[in-house]
């Protein structure tokens, strides 16, 4: 019996409980005693007490039983796997699990005379649409069989207990129905716990991000020293054949960090003046009509997915800059199609609306009295902007620029398509450099073996990126918040 079916039946029991409970509560409302809760609250309370414990049990039971089965299968793996064809125990375990899952598709007759050689079993399962790895061994079949039958037993026991819990809950809930029962308060308490649980998901996500990356990063640092990672100047991970054990690669962060910061710098050099001037014009000069047209137009730029910018850089901007440089120099172009300049320029276009709308908000938040005072003393508008408004808005603008910069650093698709993959240190913006995000994508796409440093390094890069942007964001939010309080 599959978990989904069990869940559906439990839900069914719950709904039966809801209707019986509602009817029974309604029947008790004869007008003699003042009822505490309306009938449907009694119904929902019966539903909750019969469904919630059962669902919780199912979740815990299925997690626990699968861990138990995996442990016992691992224990029964023969010791020699380390030296045999299959590289590691975890890989062998994965194959056994694959077989055990595949056995679900066989009918009882086929289970009775299961082929005991791996080759036959593989072709049998292949005909059922289950693809197995080619290098499996015969000894895996009995282990998989035990796993399979163990899982079936666990599911049956689990389903039985879940149904018992649901029905017990149903009876308990129904027996508790009387006119003065505080069903509404009970239901509302459960709802409140549900709301609290939903709001902790945000924290769980952050914790998940940090821990998942931290574990892999620690694994990575057990192979490559942190010193070599953080201060190494050569990036040459050398993809080894899976399982060959050759790990001699160099994982230097410096070239990637330099590329990331350089491209972000070029992007900011383009986006900040354009965005800031656009914001100033819209806040201080533009008529409401112009503003109502221009602001949405610029915000369209923010709604375009970054992959589209990447394609724009790849197909239009890169070749254009290359041809332009070729026309200027008269010979071969000095700007490469994939270069820091291309990626930075296109990323800058993407950032314009961030800079402009964030700064626009901050500039309009400067109190009108300051503006009027300056204009009244005879300053021109531009002098007012330069001498009064910008200094007053400066902390907020700095915060906005930090937020924008953190976005530039974490941007992925534009640089994947436009910046190139060669990790080198150069100061020439016309050459290709690469970034942290590009390397994360490079290391994790395609076939991967999970425990090689070539893969794990992506998590070390990821956690570096995470803390880099986190620091910038927290600092920026702190500044923005502090600044806002100043005028409120």
């Amino acid at each position: 019996m599959s978990v989904l079916l069990v869940l559906l039946i439990v839900l069914g029991i719950g709904f039966v409980g809801f209707f019986i409970g509602r009817r029974r509560a309604g029947a008790q409302d004869a007008g003699k005693v003042k009822v505490h809760s309306r009938a449907h609250y009694h119904g929902w309370w019966v539903f909750l007490v019969s469904v919630l414990p059962a669902v919780l049990f199912i979740a815990i039971w299925s997690a626990a039983s699968s861990i138990y089965l995996e442990r016992s299968a691992e224990a029964s793996l023969p010791a020699q796997t380390a030296e045999s064809v299959v590289a590691s125990r975890s890989l062998a375990l994965g194959m056994v699990q694959g077989i055990a899952d595949g056995l679900d598709r066989l009918d009882p007759a086929e289970m009775q005379n299961l082929p005991q050689s791996y080759g036959e079993l593989r072709s049998l399962l292949g005909s059922k649409g289950v693809a197995l790895a080619s290098e499996g061994q015969d000894y895996m079949i009995p282990i998989a069989q035990r796993w399979h039958s163990g899982a079936a037993v666990a599911r049956t026991i689990g389903a039985g207990i879940a149904f018992a819990l649901a029905i017990a809950g149903l009876i308990f809930g129904l027996s508790g129905i009387h006119p003065r029962a505080r069903a509404r308060n009970n239901v509302e308490r459960v709802v409140l716990w549900g709301l609290l649980a939903a709001s902790t998901i945000a924290i769980l996500t952050t914790v998940g991000i940090v821990f998942s990356m931290l574990f892999q990063t620690i694994n990575f640092f057990s192979v490559v020293s942190p010193w070599n990672f953080f201060f190494g100047t050569v990036w040459d991970p050398r993809f080894a054949d899976a399982g060959a054990g050759a790990t001699a690669g160099q994982f230097g962060l410096i070239p990637l960090l330099a590329g990331t910061l350089y491209i972000a710098l070029v992007a900011m050099l383009f986006a900040v003046p354009v965005g800031l001037f656009a914001a100033i014009y819209m806040a201080e000069y533009a008529s409401p009509k112009v503003r109502s047209i221009v602001k949405p137009l610029l915000e369209i730029l923010a709604g375009i997915p970054t992959i589209v910018y990447g394609f724009f850089a790849l197909v239009t901007v890169g070749p254009f800059l290359r041809d332009l440089s070729a026309a200027i120099s008269g010979g071969p172009g000095f700007i490469m199609a994939q270069s820091v300049l291309t990626a930075g320029l296109v990323m800058g276009i993407m950032l314009i609306p961030f800079v402009s709308s964030l700064s626009d908000d901050i500039i309009t938040a400067v109190p009108g009295t300051m503006r009027d005072g300056s204009l009244g003393l005879g300053a021109t508008r531009s002098e007012t902007v330069k001498r009064v408004i910008l200094p007053a808005a400066l902390p907020g603008i700095v915060g906005a620029l930090l937020l924008t910069a953190s976005r530039a650093i974490g941007e992925t698709m534009i640089v994947v398509l436009a910046a190139g993959v060669a990790a080198r240190l150069t100061v020439n913006p016309f050459e290709a450099m690469t970034t942290i995000t590009v390397k994360i994508v490079n290391q994790l796409t395609g076939d991967l073996e999970f425990n090689s440093p070539q893969t794990l390094v992506a998590f070390a890069l990821g956690i570096t990126l995470f803390f880099l942007t986190l620091a910038m964001n927290i600092f920026a939010l702190y500044i923005v918040r502090k600044y806002r309080e100043q005028y409120e």
């Binding site: 709001s199 945000a202 924290i203 990447g310 197909v315 995000t437």
Partner: protein, 439 residues
């Protein structure tokens, strides 16, 4: 008299020369400053239109596809030379269908079958996709064997590009992808009305293919649809529940403070980090399959949650306290007040935020690359656990292909994506205008 007095005064009191406070210079600076602002806005808008122009001019042709109507003789001697199809159905699967089409085309063009160089040009004229097309036809209805059927076959990718006028025919013949002979054939066939451009339904129905003319967005559209449904089903209830708690119930405490800061930070975490989370937690730890739209949906849910929470909290805050006071005053419990009164009034704002969050999720690429959605998936995924791709990921994969016809397809796919996003955003704007209430 006054005049003389004034004159004498001017002479007497040596009036100070008016100090040069640089009015001219200052006004020039003012004009310059204003001009910079206009230039900045112009730059922004220029790039917006450059981008849209580049995509549309490259991509609008992708919605048309060149087809050739050919009378193809389904020759039994080619399909099933030994007459085994009754005993061995595999014969029909492995038969050499392209030869049939090639011969039919050669006959049409009057090329002798023995002229090998010309026949090579002929076989490049039609797409290799005819193999599948004819196989499906014949397997579905074996009685067609031996008859002659008029079927529309797709032109090859280069011929398609040439027919759309995307190749410069003045280039030396050796340096371009179509021969003069093929160009001449194109002319005869299109004069006859046999070769024409039709609306490219294949762009929306085909799965992955290494041949541009049979590559389509079918799998990607279904994958994206699954992911959007998952995001909607998970992120909306969780986001609304979290916002209700934070906005209506939570007392100011350290826990709620942490949650607040957390949500603001999550909104600014680079999207690729969510991909790493998905890889480590959903695939490695929970053992969900790689490339599945379920995992993609979960990752996008976590990414979209902060957007929805921030929008929902703003919508809840916009409901005036008088509503809450009135509900409580009439004896509603706090939960009834929130769910019966505040939430329905905040619903339009919540919906707007949700649509914008979904639009963001639809265009997101980076995290999906890490959970293996860069996959060559030919068949439609039937459940969210099957391998699939997504619309932006398909764009990424096509963008890495070199052929001219793929540039066209990529731009076409981008147009499709942008249209979806435009529809969603316009819906959000209309919803906001229509239903928004000013208190």
């Amino acid at each position: 008299m006054t005049d003389t007095m004034l004159n004498s005064n001017v002479a007497a009191i040596d009036r100070p020369v008016r100090r040069d406070i640089g009015i001219k210079r200052r006004y020039a600076a003012e004009r310059r400053f204003r001009f910079y602002g206009i230039v900045a806005i112009a730059i922004g808008i220029f790039f917006l239109f450059a981008l849209l122009f580049s995509v549309i001019s490259n991509g609008y042709t992708a919605f048309w596809q060149t087809t050739i109507e050919l009378p193809v003789k389904l020759d039994e001697k080619v399909i099933d030379p030994n007459n085994q199809r009754a005993s061995n159905p595999n014969v029909l699967m492995t038969a050499n269908y392209p030869v049939l089409v090639r011969n039919a085309l050669a006959e049409k063009l009057g090329v002798p079958l023995t002229n090998r160089p010309a026949m090579r040009d002929v076989s490049k004229f039609v797409s290799d996709g005819v193999r599948n097309q004819l196989r499906e036809m014949v397997v579905a209805n074996p009685s067609l064997i031996g008859t002659t059927q008029t079927i529309p076959v797709l032109a090859g990718a280069d011929i398609d590009s040439a027919f759309k006028g995307q190749f410069d025919l003045d280039v030396d013949e050796a340096n371009r992808k179509v021969s003069d002979q093929q160009v001449a054939w194109m002319k005869t066939l299109s004069d006859e009305g046999v070769m024409k451009q039709e609306f490219n339904t294949g762009l929306f129905t085909y799965g992955a293919s290494s041949r541009p003319e049979t590559a389509g967005l079918g799998v990607a559209l279904i994958g994206s649809l699954y992911m959007m449904l998952i995001v909607l089903a998970l992120a909306l209830p969780i986001g609304v529940a979290a916002s209700i708690y934070l906005e209506e119930y939570a007392r100011k405490s350290r826990l709620t403070d942490i949650i607040e800061v957390n949500i603001n930070n999550l909104a600014a975490v680079p999207s690729i980090v969510f991909g790493l989370l998905g890889l480590a937690v959903f695939i490695n730890l929970a053992g969900l399959p790689r490339s599945a739209s379920l995992v993609g949906g979960l990752v996008l849910t976590l990414m979209t949650l902060p957007t929805i929470i921030i929008a929902t909290r703003a919508a809840l805050r916009a409901v005036p306290p008088s509503i809450r006071a009135a509900a409580l005053g009439l004896g509603a419990s706090k939960t009834q007040m929130v769910f019966h009164h505040v939430l329905p009034l905040a619903a339009p704002g919540i919906l707007t935020g949700t649509i914008i969050g979904l639009a963001q999720a639809l265009g997101e690429t980076a995290p999906l690359l890490l959970i293996g959605m860069v996959a060559f998936v030919v068949g439609y995924p039937t459940t969210p656990m099957d391998p699939a791709t997504a619309l932006p990921v398909q764009i990424f994969m096509w963008a890495n292909e070199a052929e001219r016809a793929f540039v066209e397809r990529t731009s076409g796919a981008i147009i499709v994506l942008l249209l979806f996003l435009a529809v969603m955003n316009i819906a959000a704007i209309i919803l906001r205008r229509r239903v928004e209430r000013r208190w």
